[in-house]
């Protein structure tokens, strides 16, 4: 069989063509070795079985499966060679067999002029018989050998040589399977890695967007209410969603005239467009109030500003604007203008009657105040009220009255009025806000929309003495991200 032909069987014993690795062939071979990524991998059952099978078939003490690296011969499987994992790439045995296209059979190494100098022959092992078949890839690269060794000379039949070649082919098949499994695993790893990276990026984006929205939301709210001597102020802001920038706004600030300015409003709509209107409304109201103390004129200025905006006619808001100042009677005079906003509530202790303390509730809703930013000639209306010691004023956005008490019933003006009436009136603004938030929290679904609450109260003389000066309270809440609807 031509493929069994080797120099020592060519009728010239001891004279064998000494093959030297060709540089280009060797570079291609090494590339193939690396492609199969098998060097220095742990023992593997399939290769071990091939080595054991070879030893049994040939009845030899040693059989190995080797992969030939640049400068060493590494044993993928070594039957009968315990503890040896690699040897040098000396010529004569595997080092020569891997350069051939066919099997190399050396019946007696001492009679082979190259093999006789190999350390396996000259060393402790004293190899006298060697036969090897190269492991050849489909594209012709020789990765290593399947070989059998004995310590005494022997000859093998051409059938046995063919068997050795078949075993080398089985090893090659095994390595192909292994490579294709490796590729699949690597592809899966790449896909998993890409998916994980995409997931992490999405998480980071989501966090960045939520952080941006909540930052924007904070810039749209006053950081804290000022301290107004003789007045207790409290507010509450609840954002229905951390992602959606709300359209509710309020502020309390001093005016050049020595009075105080106050506003609370609600832009129709949500999201970024509503936020631009919220921002515009806040700054326009503050700026206008520095030029005039007339609350109606301030709302007119806002109406003009909204109509001049790019969203003219499509975005509008409702709002209260008020000025207030201490009066001679020990309370505060409040001049309040409305632009289509739901009524405010003026709370005072009810005339003493039998039973629990309760509150007289008066809706404050100047007639004829229109939506702000919807009509060029909108009219606004104002009223003046006196906030006496012991009295309070509650302003809110419709997220409060539109909160659902059941699947299809809203709290409404009636529900809010009933709630306020049943409360003791003597409590201050902070307690009023706290109780109102409690009312919302007790509803089965809470508030679906954004809610802004702002309360003012003039402490009764006995309270004022007890509470050395009134303060202000603010709290802001946002629904957790997971609780959107």
């Amino acid at each position: 069989m031509p493929e069994q032909a080797s120099a020592s069987e060519d009728g010239v014993p001891g004279k064998r063509l000494h093959l030297v690795p060709d540089e280009v062939v060797e570079a291609g071979r090494m590339e193939a070795v690396r492609r199969y990524d098998i060097l220095d991998t742990p023992p593997d059952g399939a290769f071990d079985r091939v080595a054991a099978l070879a030893a049994r078939l040939f009845d030899v003490p040693v059989a190995t499966v080797t992969i030939v690296d640049e400068d060493r011969i590494w044993f993928k499987a070594a039957h009968g060679l315990d503890g040896v994992s690699e040897i040098g790439r000396d010529p004569g045995l595997c080092g020569s067999a891997v350069l051939r296209d066919d099997a190399l059979v050396i019946p007696d190494t001492l009679l082979d002029d190259v093999a006789c100098g190999n350390p396996l022959v000259t060393g402790a092992l004293g190899v006298r018989f060697y036969a090897a078949a190269p492991i050849i890839t489909a594209d012709g690269h020789k990765l290593g050998t399947v070989n059998v060794l004995d310590t005494k000379p022997r000859s093998i039949t051409s059938e046995q040589t063919a068997t050795l070649t078949d075993l080398a082919a089985i090893v090659m098949d095994e390595m192909e399977l292994r490579l294709s499994a490796l590729r699949t695993v690597r592809q899966e790893q790449r896909v998993a890695e890409a998916e994980r990276a995409a997931r992490e990026q999405a998480e980071r984006d989501k966090a960045a967007i939520a952080s941006f929205a909540s930052t924007l939301q904070r810039t749209l709210l006053p950081p804290a209410l000022p301290t107004v001597p003789g007045l207790e102020l409290a507010c509450h802001y609840h954002a229905a969603s951390v992602h959606d920038v709300g359209g509710d706004f309020y502020d309390v600030f001093p005016l050049p005239s020595g009075k105080w300015g106050l506003f609370l409003g609600d832009v129709c709509g949500k999201g970024a467009e509503a936020a631009t209107i919220t921002s515009l409304a806040r700054y326009t109201l503050r700026a206008s109030a520095h030029h005039t103390d007339d609350p109606v004129a301030v709302l007119e200025a806002l109406n003009s500003a909204l109509l001049a905006d790019v969203w003219a006619g499509a975005r509008y808001c409702t709002a209260f604007f008020a000025t207030f100042a201490p009066d001679a009677a020990g309370g505060f005079t409040v001049e309040l203008a409305t632009g289509g906003h739901p009524p405010a509530y003026h709370l005072s202790p009810a005339a003493p009657v039998a039973g629990p303390a309760h509150t007289r509730v008066e809706a404050v809703h100047p007639k004829g105040g229109m939506l702000i930013g919807a009509f060029p000639h909108a009219r606004f209306a104002s009223t003046t009220l006196h906030l006496a010691p012991g009295q309070a004023l509650l302003l809110y956005t419709d997220g409060l009255t539109e909160a659902h008490t059941s699947a299809d019933t809203m709290l409404g003006d009636e529900g809010l009025t009933a709630f306020l009436t049943a409360r003791p009136a003597s409590c201050g603004a902070a307690q009023l806000i706290e109780d109102t938030v409690g009312l919302l929290d007790a509803l089965p679904q809470g508030a679906r929309d954004d809610v802004a609450l702002l309360a003012l109260s003039v402490p009764a003389p006995d309270q004022a003495a007890a509470a050395t000066g009134a303060g202000s309270t603010a709290h802001t809440t946002a629904a957790p991200a997971g609780e959107e609807h």
Partner: protein, 122 residues
């Protein structure tokens, strides 16, 4: 809530046109209602009377649509009137002061009377 809203021109007596709205006016249907009403105004029906007797539900999105239609009628030199306004919408119109700009009547017949009786309406 349904995504469908109907706006049908039902009568064109004199200078006014009566359009009947059927369905629910919410965030989803309001833009369609607004677009169709503005189309009618563009077609020359400058004095539009919206019959809202067939409207089951209307929220602030509906109010926005009505304001948009009002602007369209104004630009065309016409008017917008409402007939048979549902309770919740009426409360919103009153609360926001929009009722002072949008004439509203219990029925289309009464809306029509006002139009025909108005000086210069013919």
């Amino acid at each position: 809530m349904t995504d469908d809203i109907e706006l049908a021109l039902t009568a064109t007596p004199g200078p006014a046109a009566i359009a009947t709205v059927t369905g629910e006016i919410d965030l989803h249907t309001a833009p369609g209602l607004r677009a169709r009403a503005l189309e009618l105004i563009d077609q020359g029906h400058h004095h539009l009377i919206l019959d809202l007797s067939g409207v089951g539900f209307c929220d602030s999105a509906g109010l926005s649509a009505l304001i948009g239609i009002w602007h369209g009628a104004q630009e065309a030199g016409g008017t917008l009137s409402l007939a048979a306004v549902p309770d919740r919408l009426m409360r919103m119109l009153t609360l926001t002061g929009v009722d002072s700009l949008l004439p509203h009547y219990p029925s289309t017949a009464e809306a029509l009377n006002t139009h025909q009786g108005a000086p210069g309406a013919a």
